[in-house]
């Protein structure tokens, strides 16, 4: 394979894997923000909790990796409902500043708790044999784990698209994102809808955190460092839009990977520059409405 084509394939492949993680974590944030306008900066902390839970389950309790991921998703979704019912719901009608402060507070608490338990060194897990190694595609090989992430991501895109576009629940969510008052007045219980999407979104964040373990390595600063990327994806995609979140995750994931491949050292710029350029051209995001 010619070297240039090889680099392009690497960028697209790694970018796609990265984009899938970004999408999985961000989609819940986008929908909950679209529904209630709640600025949840603790979303990265939920993703981090999912990652650490996966670490503990596989290492200390000997749960297989995939099983650990599933348990982490369910556990974090359940925990998130507790937070939503006790803390978040008090601030639905409060100002954005209050929501930002509460969720920054939660993030700091989470960082402190996870530093206390796991220490500041990066944690990772041993992958099962069927996910380690490389897959030979004929013209070159690809790391199996990234192929797995892409597969999980694409499967989730399909499932979420179906749930969003083809079920009654999805129709209710779309209606509530479009116009909350109108949705309420035709009898949709938006509060319950929010709790549900919040739980699903946090569960997906936990899944993203678990998948990200092997890509980024999990440290307590994950909740802050990657939060910025999740927020970028949500803002660039447009609040409450599945299509937008996917498009934003792809654009930002691939641009970021390209930047890091092509301009080592200076590549960190690219993701911010692209995001700012898109937001300046389309303030409401790729698929948002003004």
């Amino acid at each position: 394979m010619p070297p240039l084509a090889n680099i392009v394939v690497s960028i697209l492949f790694d970018g796609l894997a990265y984009a899938m993680v970004l999408f999985i974590v961000s989609v819940g944030l986008s929908v909950t923000m679209g529904l209630m306008g709640f600025v949840n900066l603790a979303h990265g902390a939920f993703a981090m909790a999912g990652g650490y839970l996966t670490v503990s389950l596989t290492r200390s309790m000997g749960v297989p990796f995939l099983g650990a991921l599933v348990i982490a998703v369910i556990a974090i979704a359940a925990v998130s409902v507790v937070f939503e019912r006790t803390l978040y719901r008090r601030l639905y009608r409060a100002s954005e500043l209050d929501q930002v402060l509460l969720t920054i507070g939660l993030t700091f608490l989470a960082i402190a708790a996870f530093t206390w338990v796991y220490g500041p060194v990066p944690q990772s897990v041993r992958l099962p044999d069927y996910l380690a190694g490389q897959i030979d595609a004929g013209f070159r090989t690809f790391p199996t784990y990234r192929v797995f992430i892409i597969a999980v991501g694409l499967a989730l895109v399909t499932v979420l698209w179906f749930a969003f576009e083809r079920t009654l629940l999805g129709a209710k969510i779309r209606a509530a994102v479009d116009n909350r008052r109108m949705a309420q007045s035709v009898g949709i219980d938006v509060d319950r809808l929010f709790t549900l999407t919040f739980a699903v979104g946090s569960g997906l964040a936990a899944l993203g955190g678990g998948l990200a373990l092997q890509l980024f390595g999990m440290t307590p600063s994950f909740a802050v460092v990657y939060l910025v990327f999740f927020l970028l994806v949500v803002a660039v995609g447009g609040l409450g839009s599945l299509k937008g979140t996917l498009a934003a995750a792809l654009v930002l994931g691939i641009c970021d990977t390209a930047g890091k491949y092509l301009f080592a050292g200076a590549g960190g710029f690219i993701i911010y520059a692209v995001a700012i350029a898109i937001l300046l051209a389309r303030p409401a995001g790729l698929h948002g409405r003004d």
């Binding site: 803390l87 954005e96 402060l101 507070g105 993030t107 608490l109 960082i111 530093t115 911010y272 700012i276």
Partner: protein, 335 residues
């Protein structure tokens, strides 16, 4: 008839402004405390000057967040620009005179504020949050890429500055640094106070409370916000420059999210939209940080997280809000 009405309205407006501008005796308290601290804690003056620097930083944030209602998570950008202005001037150009350094820092940070404000202030909510955050991270990446000039993540260590006013040299006990920081803080406080009690400052509050109405009475909303943002950026730049002066080093960590979030927490703790909230918030935050971080950094982080949650849920007006409520109750005016 119309003429007397106008006169009456103008008189009422003047009385309203004068009532806001009047100096209250309690306003002397922070300054007395700051001067007393100089004599009571002679061995903690280095820490004291850090508190004063952060108070100035929080004050600059109060102008945009507390008065104009602009929610930003990227104020560390201007603090960092100020710090790197004096740092680079001293390390690369041998420009070590502190006061002109402060002016240069204010100019650079103010210019950056005006430039970014023209674009950013048209946005609200999540988009504004994301854009301000991204701007800060871009600056950090920028500093990292040009590490030959900026020193990268190692920063600019061991800066040395000329004596303040050519006379007062920095001493080992931080006496000069403390008084220097206090003097700069006082001057900036007077400036900020003059701004918020002016008709301009009142119109910022109007924008915060009801932007649509300010538009409809013909106030140039974007222009006012831009001026406030620029002044605030310049003050944050001065705070950053003071930080570099008193610490004698700068690193790229000034652009960290923790710095933007920390100053926000200080302001919230003290109380927004009250000027002096910045002062008391910085004192409480820094003292707590100093005493809790001794046990472990995680301990402090948990403490600040808990403090933030409790403040938001139960004491939204901050320490000064609690004090005011207690004062009203004592006077028998009810809660």
């Amino acid at each position: 008839m119309a003429a007397t009405d106008e006169i009456a309205v103008a008189a009422r407006a003047r009385r309203f402004l004068a009532a806001h501008a009047r100096l209250r005796p309690t306003e002397a308290l922070p300054w007395l405390v700051a001067v007393a601290a100089f004599f009571v804690f002679p061995d903690r003056l280095t820490f004291g000057s850090q508190v004063l620097v952060m108070a100035l930083f929080a004050l600059s944030l109060d102008l945009v967040l507390g008065y104009a209602g602009i929610l930003t998570l990227g104020h560390a950008a201007f603090f960092g620009i100020g710090a790197y202005t004096v740092g680079l001037l001293a390390a690369r150009l041998d420009w070590t005179e502190p006061l002109t350094g402060l002016l240069a820092a204010a100019t650079c940070a103010g210019f950056a504020g005006a430039l970014s404000g023209v674009v950013l202030l048209r946005y609200r909510g999540l988009t504004l949050l994301v854009l301000t955050l991204s701007t800060t991270f871009i600056l950090q990446e920028f500093g990292n890429v040009f590490d030959r000039v900026t020193g990268g993540y190692d920063g600019l260590p061991g800066l040395s500055f000329s004596p303040v006013l050519g006379v007062f040299d920095y001493d080992l006990f931080g006496r000069t640094a403390y008084l220097y920081a206090l003097a700069v803080l006082f001057v900036c406080f007077c400036l900020a106070r003059a701004i918020v009690v002016s008709p301009f400052g009142r119109s910022l509050v109007g924008i915060r409370e009801n932007t649509a109405r300010m538009h409809s009475i013909g106030a140039p909303v974007h222009g006012r916000l831009l001026v406030a943002y620029t002044v605030s950026a310049a003050l944050a730049g001065v705070a950053g420059a003071l930080h570099a002066h008193t610490n004698a080093f700068v690193t790229l960590s000034v652009f960290d999210f923790e710095n933007s979030a920390g100053v926000l927490v200080m302001l919230i703790l003290g109380g927004t939209g009250r000027l002096y909230g910045a002062f008391w918030g910085a004192v409480v935050y820094m003292v707590l940080q100093d005493s809790l971080a001794k046990f472990s950094p995680a301990f402090w982080q948990a403490g600040v997280g808990l403090l933030l949650i409790v403040t938001v849920l139960f004491a939204r007006a901050g320490i000064l809000g609690l004090v005011e409520a207690a004062g009203r109750r004592l006077r028998g005016g009810g809660p």
